[in-house]
Amino acid sequence: MFEAWVTVLISGLAMGAIYALVAGGLNLTWGVMNVVNMAHGVFLMLGAYITFMAWSYWGINPLFTIFLSFPILFALGALINRFLVRRTVGLASMLLTFGIFMVIENLAVVGFGGMYRSVRFFTGSYDIMGVFVSKPRIIAAGIAVAMSLLTYWFLKKTKIGVAIRAISLDRMMAEQCGVNTNQICTITFGIGAAQPAVAGSLMSLIFAFNPMLGRVFLVKAFAIVVLGGMGNFLGALIGGLTIGLVEAVIAFSGNLHLSEAAGFIIIILILLLRPSGIMGRRQ
C-alpha cells in the first residue's frame, strides 16, 4: 500500500511539473505583458509536432528536439509579438491571440491531419523497491523542472530577466529607467511561446496527440498561473506541483472525477483565502 501511494504521488508530482512548465510560459505572456494569450495551447501543440517530425523523419533523439522546438517557437512567438500582439492591449489582445489560435490550429489540422501521433521512445518504468516511476514522465518532469528553474534563474540574474521583471511590476517605470520595453516584450513573448513548446515536445513522449492537444492544458495553465501568483515564477512551479499532487491524492483515495473537480475547487478556495495566489504579492 505504501509503495502504491508513493507511486501515485510521484506520478502526480511529475504531471504537476509539466503543468508548471506550461503555466510558466503563460506567466510570462500574461503576468508580464498582460496579454491573455489564447494561442498558448497551439504553441504547445507545435512543439509536440516538431518533436514528432524530427523523430519520425530524421530519427533525432526526442530529448534533443527541445533544442529545435525552443528556437523555432521562440522565433515564431517573437514574430507574432513584433507584428501583431505588440499593437494591441487588453481584451483586444485576447481577441487577437484567439484569432492566431484559430488560424494555426486549423492549418495544423489541414497540414498534419486529425489522426493521433505519438513518439514511441521511452516506455515502461523504473521499479525502485516496488515504487513504479514512469520513464517518459519522470524524464519529462525532470526537464520541465530544470527548464522552470532555468527560467527563474534567467529572470533573477540576467539583465534581460531583470528588465522583464521590471516591466511586470510597472511598465512605465521600466521605460523611465531606460528599458527598451518593446524589445524586451518581444523576447518575453518569444520565451512565453518557446516554453510551452518544450512542454509540448515532452508531452509527445507521454501522450498520443493531435492538433487539439493544447486545449486540454489551457484552462489548467490559466488556473495555475493565478494560483501561484501572476508574474511569480516560483509560484507557478509550486502551484503546478500542488495541483498535480492534490489531483493524485484525491484520485487515489476518491475517484478521478472528484480529483479533477477538487483541483478547480481548491483554486477557488485559495483565491478566496489569499486573493493574490499562494506566492503572490499581497495587494
Partner: protein, 401 residues
C-alpha cells in the same frame, strides 16, 4: 473615417450573404440523398471515412445504372462535429434542398440530433456509426440501425471470455463510451463475471491514470474492459499499465483497436489487446454474404489513392446499399413504404447482415473479435472467419520480448 466605412459595408454584405445563402441546387432528374458528416472538428477523421463510403456508393450505383433507372446524387454537408449544427443541416436538407432521402451522420450525438429531425418530417434514417441504445428506445418510428447496439457490441467480447471471473471496467465519460460501459455492466453478471471495483471513469481532460490503474492492480482482475473513445486514451491506459506492471489475463478495448493509428502509436505495446470490429476488408465470404465487397474495396482504392477501405467507409456504403435495396423493393419513392421496407428487410450488404426488430434496433449484424498479433489485427471470431487463434493469457509486461 472613410477607411472605416469599408468594414461596415463588408459586415452588411456578410449578413445579407447569410440570408441569401440558401439557394438550393436544382436537379430534378436524379434521386437525391443528403446527409451531414463531421468533416471538421474532433470527428473529422471518422467523418472523412464516412464520406468516402457514400462517394464510392454513389459512384458504383451510378455506374450500374442508378436506382429505378434514375441516377443518384449524394449531398454531404459538414456539421463541424456539433450536434446543434447537425439539427440545422438536416432541417435544411429536408425543407430547403428537398432531398428524397436522408443519409446517416456519424456518431451517437449527431444521430440523435438527425433522427429527431427525421422523425418530425417522416424521413427515415438508417443510422450508421451509432450504437447508443437510447437511439432506438425513444419510440421513434423512422430510425433503424446498421450497427448492433452497445449491449450486443460489448456482449460479443464479454461472451468470448465467458470463463473469466473477475473484471475491472474503465470508462471515458463521453456519450457513446458511457453507453458501452453501461452495456458492459449489463453483460458481466450474465457471463458470471464480477466487477472487482466500481467502474473507473475518466474524462477527456484526464492526463494521469496512475491512480485508477493502481487501484485496479490491487484487486488483480483477470480481465480489463476499457470503454475507450479512441487511440488517445487507449494509449494512455496501456502505457501507464505497462509502467505500473498491471497484468490482467486479457485486455479488451472498445473502438481503439480498429482505429488505423492505434497500432502505429502504441507499437509492440498494442500486442495481445483485443477488441471487436464491425467490419474487416479481407474476410472469407463464408460468414456473411459479401457479394460486392471485392468491387467495393477495389473502387475505394481507385478513388482514394490506393487506400484500403476502413470500417467507417464500409458502414456508410452499407447505409447506401440498404436504402437502395429498400427503394428497389418498394419500387417508388414513398417515405412510408420505404420505412416499412427498412423494418422488414432481411438481407446483407458489404457491411454485413441487416435485420432489425420493431424498434429498429439491429439484431442481424455479426461482430468480429479481433486481437493485435505481430502488429496486425487478426480476426478470432466467428471461428469460420478466423484468421488466427487467440493468444491467451496475455503475458506480463516484463515477460514480453
Amino acid at each position: 473615417m472613410r477607411s472605416r466605412i469599408i468594414p461596415i459595408i463588408l459586415l452588411t454584405l456578410f449578413v445579407l450573404g447569410t440570408i441569401v445563402f440558401g439557394a438550393s441546387c436544382e436537379t430534378k432528374e436524379p434521386i437525391v440523398f443528403g446527409g451531414a458528416l463531421p468533416l471538421t472538428g474532433w470527428g473529422a477523421d471518422g467523418g472523412e471515412y464516412n464520406r468516402r463510403g457514400y462517394m464510392v456508393w454513389e459512384d458504383m450505383v451510378n455506374a450500374a445504372g442508378g436506382i429505378l433507372g434514375r441516377p443518384v446524387k449524394v449531398i454531404i454537408y459538414d456539421d463541424k462535429s456539433d450536434p446543434t449544427v447537425t439539427t440545422r443541416l438536416y432541417e435544411k436538407l429536408v425543407t430547403q434542398d428537398k432531398v428524397d432521402f436522408l443519409l446517416s451522420p456519424w456518431t451517437d450525438d449527431m444521430v440523435m440530433a438527425a433522427t429527431t429531425v427525421g422523425e418530425k418530417y417522416g424521413k427515415t434514417i438508417v443510422a450508421g456509426g451509432a450504437t447508443y441504445p437510447a437511439i432506438w428506445e425513444r419510440g421513434y418510428k423512422y430510425v433503424t440501425g446498421l450497427l448492433p447496439n452497445s449491449k450486443d457490441y460489448l456482449g460479443v467480447g464479454i461472451r468470448f471470455f465467458s470463463g473469466l471471473k473477475t473484471v475491472a471496467l474503465l470508462n471515458l465519460d463521453l456519450t457513446f463510451t458511457t453507453g458501452f460501459a453501461d452495456a458492459a455492466e449489463w453483460n458481466f453478471p450474465r457471463e458470471g463475471m464480477t466487477l472487482v471495483l466500481p467502474r473507473q471513469t475518466y474524462t477527456g481532460d484526464t492526463t494521469d491514470l496512475t491512480a485508477p490503474l493502481m487501484k485496479i492492480k490491487a484487486k488483480n482482475p483477470d480481465f480489463i474492459v476499457a470503454c475507450t473513445g479512441g487511440a488517445e486514451d487507449a494509449t494512455m491506459i496501456l502505457r501507464q499499465a505497462k509502467e505500473i506492471g498491471l497484468n490482467p489475463k486479457a485486455w479488451w478495448f472498445t473502438i481503439a483497436p480498429v482505429i488505423p493509428e492505434y497500432i502505429e502509436v502504441l507499437g509492440e505495446d498494442a500486442e495481445y489487446t483485443l477488441g471487436c470490429s464491425e467490419w474487416e476488408p479481407e474476410l472469407p465470404d463464408t460468414i456473411e454474404d459479401f457479394s460486392i465487397r471485392a468491387a467495393f474495396n477495389q473502387r475505394h482504392r481507385e478513388m482514394f489513392g490506393g487506400e484500403d477501405p476502413v470500417e467507417d467507409a464500409a458502414t456508410t456504403f452499407g447505409v447506401g446499399q440498404i436504402m437502395q435495396l429498400a427503394i428497389e423493393k418498394v419500387g417508388e419513392l414513398d417515405d412510408e413504404k420505404i420505412n416499412e421496407a427498412l423494418h422488414e428487410l432481411d438481407t446483407s450488404t458489404v457491411f454485413g447482415y441487416y435485420r432489425v426488430d420493431e424498434a429498429g434496433k439491429q439484431k442481424g449484424k455479426v461482430m468480429y473479435v479481433i486481437q493485435v498479433q505481430n502488429g496486425v489485427r487478426e480476426t478470432l471470431w466467428p471461428f469460420k472467419a478466423a484468421t488466427s487463434v487467440l493468444r491467451f493469457p496475455t503475458p506480463p509486461w516484463d515477460k514480453r520480448d
